[in-house]
Every structure is written in C-alpha cells, then in structure tokens.
Subunit: 220 residues, 2 copies
Amino acid sequence: MATFKTRAQYVADDLRERILGGEFKGGSQLRQDALARDYDVSRIPVREALLTLESEGLVEFHAHRGAFTTELSVAAIRELFDLRVLLETYVLRHAIPNLTAADLDHAGSVLRQYDAALDSGSQIDNWSDYNFAFHHALYAPSGLPETLAMIGQLNTKSGRYIRMQLVYTREIEKAELEHRELLELARQGDVDKACRLLESHIKDAAEGIAAVLEKNLRSA
Amino acid sequence: MATFKTRAQYVADDLRERILGGEFKGGSQLRQDALARDYDVSRIPVREALLTLESEGLVEFHAHRGAFTTELSVAAIRELFDLRVLLETYVLRHAIPNLTAADLDHAGSVLRQYDAALDSGSQIDNWSDYNFAFHHALYAPSGLPETLAMIGQLNTKSGRYIRMQLVYTREIEKAELEHRELLELARQGDVDKACRLLESHIKDAAEGIAAVLEKNLRSA
DNA sequence: GCCATATGGATTGCATACAATATCCAGATT
DNA sequence: AATCTGGATATTGTATGCAATCCATATGGC
C-alpha cells in the first residue's frame, strides 16, 4: 500500500538530505529552475518540495525572490536543544515502564549496527540516521506518537548542525558509549538516572555545536 | 516590508479558518478543482495551500486520491494537550521573570478586548484568536521564539476541537476568569502558582473536549 | 554630490493543458 | 455466490508558457 512517491516527495527527500549534509551553506539561494534541471522535472514539483522543506524549517521563502536555506543563530540552536531535553526526557520517562524485551533487543541491535558501521569506515552520512533510529527505538514504546513527531521535527531542524559537530569534534565514540549506558539504565528501569544521562547527552552535543559555531564566527 | 501575499498563502489562511471553524467535518475530501473555483484561482495555489495545511497537520494527502481533513483521536487530543501543558508551563516559567510593566499592560488590554467582544455579542469566531493573543502576550517575554512556534503549531492542530468545546460547553466565562487570575499571579511573580493554574486551565479544556467527543461517538 | 525615480533583466507565481494514477463497476471465471 | 480482471471515469500530479514582481543599475532633478 501507498508505495507510490510523487516527484515532489522524491525531490523533497533528496534535497533535505543535501541540505542536512551541508551542501548548501549559509543562507544560499535555491533557484527553482536550476533544481528542476538537476532533477529533470518541472518547477512545479520543485516548488512543492521547497514548500515542504519550508514547513520543516530548512528553507525560507521570500516572495518573488525565492527560497533560501535557513541559518540558525547560536541562541536558536541552544533553544532547540533545550526543547529536545524537555521533550525527550518526557517521552523516555513514559517509555521506560513500557519497554518489553523485544524493544530492548531492537534498540540493542541498532547499537550493534552502529559498531559495524563505525568499524567498516567513516559512514558518517548514515550515522545521523542510526542515531535517530536508536533514540526512536527507546522512545517509541512511550505510546506518544504526536510527541515523537515533534521530536522528529526538532531533529530535522537542527540536523545540519548535529552532523557538523560530529564531523568537527569526532565525538561519535563518546556518544556511542553514552548510548550503551542509556540502554543499560533503561533495561534496569532506572528512569531518573536514564533521564539525567539523556539530558547531559543532549546538552553536551549542544555545547559542542555552539563552540564550533562561535569559533567559525570569530574566524569569519 | 513583505506586505505581499501570494494567492497560495491567501487560500491557505482562509481554508485554515474554514477547517478550524468546523466547516469540513470528519475526514471529508477537499477537491482541488472545487476549491480552485471557490477562490477563483487555478489548482496550483490550491495544491500549495493544501501542502501547507498538511504540514500543519490539518489535512492529509493520499496520492492520487486527494487531500482529506484529518480527524484526531481522543488519545491524540489528550496527548497534544499534555504537550501544551509541558511547553506552556515551560515558557511561562521563563517569561514571568522577564515581564515588564508594558508586557503586563499589553496582556491586560487584550483581556479587556475580550470583555468588550463578549458583551457585544457572541463573536466566538474571534475568541480563539483573542485567547491565543492573551497567552502569547504572556509567553512572548520568555525570549524563546522556537518554543513559541511549536506552541503555535500545537494550537493550530488542536484548534478545531478547542472551538468546538467552547461552543458546546459555553465555558468561555470560566476561561476568562482564569485568565485574569493568571495575569494577576504573573504580576506578582508567583511562578509556581501561575504554572499550576495554567496546567489545570489547559487540562480542564482537554477534559471538556474529550467529554464532548466521547458523547458524540456514543451518539453516532 | 546625493537622493528619488525609471527602466531592464532575472526569477518567481500562476493559469492552462496534458499525462498518470486510483477507484468503480460490469462481466467473466472458479 | 464470491473473487478476480479490465476498461471507463474522475481526480490528481506535472509540464509548459506567460504575467507579475523584485532587484540592480542608470538617469535626472536638486
């Protein structure tokens, strides 16, 4: 069922990856005509894709001037990460009591895939997806789909900067260790400790990103 | 600046009002052709408007079948209101210490406008906007624009049901009293009491809506 | 020399027209 | 009788082309 994908959706998915991957820096303009040629479609599906990305906070439309990739201020990034702490500890708190053995197994298997990917080389492009998959595996049993959707939005909006931080500071290994610890605490059902760890896990990432951004600002 | 509004935006704004106003119940289909005739535009801006509304959670696209207004389950509504409690107490907590005399005056004047609207007759259409304006006046000094945007999303998504509850249960007056109390607590800087009141204010609304929906379900 | 205004060029926003897809219903098959 | 097949129909999804708008540059008045 519903295996059909419109061209607009295809363009949106690919363009999202390109933006999150850092191909378009700063507030660079995305010309509809050029993108249409890129994807060999007309400008209509490109426009629709850009509208979708606008609603996700990745681009901004200026009437008759076109779409530009958004650039988040350091303050905005801090705010988004504070929101992540608030919402993710909230769902984790609700998820842990519901975790089944199958849920824990699934989260564990995602972690093992991390390791395989790490060992096989720097598949950093996919790391963000794995990261989100692990967090999602822990959160899903909360039975709070609307909340999970908002968390997904926050991740998308700040995704570009998360990847940047990972590349710059190479602290994937540290995150990986914290993930293992988080899974263990969840297995033990220690809600408070797990939430505290999650909070510092997210805040550390935010501080790393802020540091990188502020360094870049000074050098520019 | 930027006083220009595309037709797609105009259609989106108007259609949003119509959906929130309850003109399209249940999962009713929104045919692009009919809407295009309604607004005397082509289907392109209609499609773009529908895409915008989809990102706001008001409609859903089914490929080649069209757009349908979404219908939230009682569980989803409860979840959205729980999220509102979480996020709104969060911003209120951050806003109260920053409230200036001008902020309090502004919030008070919004309240006075309520009263005027109430006395002049049942301008229920506008009440939701006033309601949001009051809450926004209290929250804005938090200096957390991203969080405010998410709260706005939650309000939009659940807006249809808020209006329904107000019409059915006529508890506008109660909400109005609570607003005055909330403003007074904010003026006194009593963060904890204000947040507790806000929490029950939102939860009461959620329970009222759930009661109405469950009654409707039984009668249907 | 400086500010207001007009004009050219580029790009978007939209209307029209066509292609692709899902659904429905009739008819055949088991 | 129930299920499956296939074509007709309605509706969406997209391509093309044109009109509207913005920005930059040049021009004229003071």
